[in-house]
C-alpha cells in the first residue's frame, strides 16, 4: 500500500537495495513440500482452492529441493526418514528457511516411541514451529507470513548477515552454520515458536 501511494504521488520511490531484494524474495517464497504424513493433507488444503496460498506468492510448490527456499517438513519424521530430510535440506540453495509443521516434527508429539525422532531440531536448524495435530491451514498461512516477516528484516548485502535459523551473526554474507544442529537452542531469538 505504501509503495502504491508513493508511486502515485511522486512517481518514484527511494529505497535501500537490501529492502528491494528482500521485497522480491519475500513475495516469492517457493516452498519445498516435504509431505510425510497427515500434515501433508493439510498442506495440500493450504495450497488448495479455499486457503489458496498463491495470495502470498507461494503457490509454486517445487518438488525439487534445488529450486526452493522454504522447506516445510509436514509430518512425523522417523529415524529412517531423518537421513532423507537432512539430505533434502542440504540440497537446497541458501538462503533457506525451515518450517516444522505439526507437533510430531516439533517434539515427537503423541509418538513417544522407538522409531520417531523427538523433534527435528536434533538434526535440522528450524526457523519456525507451527503447532497442532495437524495444524489447520490457517496456522500454516500465519507461519508463512511470519517467515516473510523474517525475510523482510534480513540484510542480504550488508556484512554480518543473519539468515535462517542461526542466531549468531557471522562474518560473511553466505550463511554458514558452524554449530551442529543439535546444539542450536530453539528458544533463543532468531527461531520463533508460534502457537496455534
Amino acid at each position: 500500500m505504501e509503495l502504491n501511494d508513493a508511486l502515485q504521488s511522486d512517481g518514484f520511490v527511494t529505497s535501500k537495495i537490501d529492502d528491494l531484494i528482500n521485497w522480491a524474495r519475500r513475495n516469492a517464497v517457493w516452498p519445498m513440500p516435504l509431505g510425510i504424513s497427515c500434515c501433508a493433507i493439510e498442506m495440500m488444503a493450504f495450497a488448495g482452492p479455499r486457503y489458496d496460498v498463491s495470495r502470498f506468492g507461494s503457490e509454486v510448490f517445487r518438488f525439487s529441493p534445488r529450486q526452493s527456499d522454504l522447506l516445510i517438513v509436514a509430518g512425523t519424521v522417523t529415524y529412517k526418514m531423518a537421513k532423507v530430510v537432512r539430505k533434502i535440506y542440504d540440497q537446497m540453495p541458501d538462503p533457506k528457511y525451515v518450517i516444522a509443521m505439526g507437533v510430531c516434527t516439533v517434539s515427537g508429539g503423541i509418538y513417544r516411541t522407538y522409531s520417531v525422532v523427538q523433534g527435528i531440531n536434533q538434526f535440522l536448524p528450524v526457523d519456525l514451529y507451527v503447532v497442532g495435530c495437524p495444524p489447520r491451514p490457517d496456522s500454516l498461512l500465519k507461519g508463512l507470513m511470519m517467515i516473510q516477516e523474517n525475510i523482510k528484516n534480513d540484510r542480504p548485502i550488508a556484512k554480518g548477515t543473519v539468515i535462517g535459523g542461526d542466531p549468531e551473526p557471522l562474518e560473511i554474507a553466505i550463511p554458514l552454520i558452524e554449530k551442529p544442529a543439535n546444539q542450536i537452542d530453539s528458544r533463543k531469538p532468531g527461531s520463533r515458536i508460534y502457537m496455534n
Binding site: 529412517k80 541458501d94 522407538y114 536434533q122 538434526f123 551442529p180 543439535n182
Partner: protein, 170 residues
C-alpha cells in the same frame, strides 16, 4: 461350512489343538504340520486368501512366540486362524510363501517386529526398521522409547560435501 473336524477326518495323521478366536475357528498346529495343513486348506477347502499374519510375544518360557495366520475363503465368507508356536532359543517356523504368495510381506513384518525366522522364505529382510537395527521392537523386553543411540541421526558434519555451498569452491 468348514470345520477342523473335517480336516482331521480326512487326514488323521495331522495333529492340532482347536482354539476360539472371537467366534471364529482357530487351531494351534505344530511346526512340522503347518505346511501340509496350509496346502490342504487352500486346495481342498478353498481358502484362497491369506489376509494377515501376526506374531506375538507370549512372554512364557516354553513356546515364547506365536505366529497367527488369518485365512479366508472368499466364496463361503468363512475366516479361520492358524497358529504356530516356537521357542525363543530356536525361533524357526516354516514359511507359507510357497502356499500363499501374499504371506511374503507379513512374514517379513513378523521377523522385523518379533524376530521369528521363517525357513525357506525367499527374501527375509527387515520390513520397517533400518537394516542395521539390531533389536526386535515388539518383544516385551524392548522398551517403548527404544535403545538410545541404536539408530544414528544425521549431523552437520555428516553433510554430503557435494551439497555444501561453502565447501564447493575448495
Amino acid at each position: 461350512m468348514f470345520t477342523f473336524e473335517q480336516l482331521q477326518e480326512k487326514n488323521p495323521t495331522l495333529h492340532f489343538e482347536k482354539v476360539d478366536v472371537g467366534g471364529d475357528q482357530g487351531a494351534i498346529v505344530s511346526r512340522n504340520d503347518i505346511l501340509a495343513i496350509a496346502e490342504r486348506l487352500k486346495s481342498e477347502f478353498g481358502f484362497q486368501q491369506l489376509l494377515d499374519a501376526l506374531a506375538h510375544d507370549r512372554n512364557e518360557k516354553k513356546d515364547r512366540f506365536e505366529v497367527t495366520y488369518n485365512i479366508r475363503n472368499h466364496k463361503t465368507m468363512q475366516r479361520i486362524f492358524l497358529k504356530v508356536r516356537c521357542d525363543e532359543r530356536d525361533p524357526h517356523v516354516p514359511s507359507l510363501v510357497s502356499v500363499w504368495t501374499g504371506a511374503n510381506w507379513h512374514e517379513r513384518e513378523a521377523y522385523d517386529m518379533i524376530g521369528v525366522e521363517f525357513d525357506n522364505h525367499p527374501d527375509l529382510r527387515r520390513m520397517y526398521m533400518p537394516e542395521e537395527f539390531e533389536y526386535f521392537p515388539l518383544r516385551k523386553d524392548f522398551p517403548l522409547m527404544g535403545v538410545p543411540g541404536s539408530i544414528p541421526l544425521p549431523h552437520h558434519e555428516d553433510a554430503d560435501p557435494r551439497f555444501d555451498v561453502a565447501k564447493r569452491g575448495e
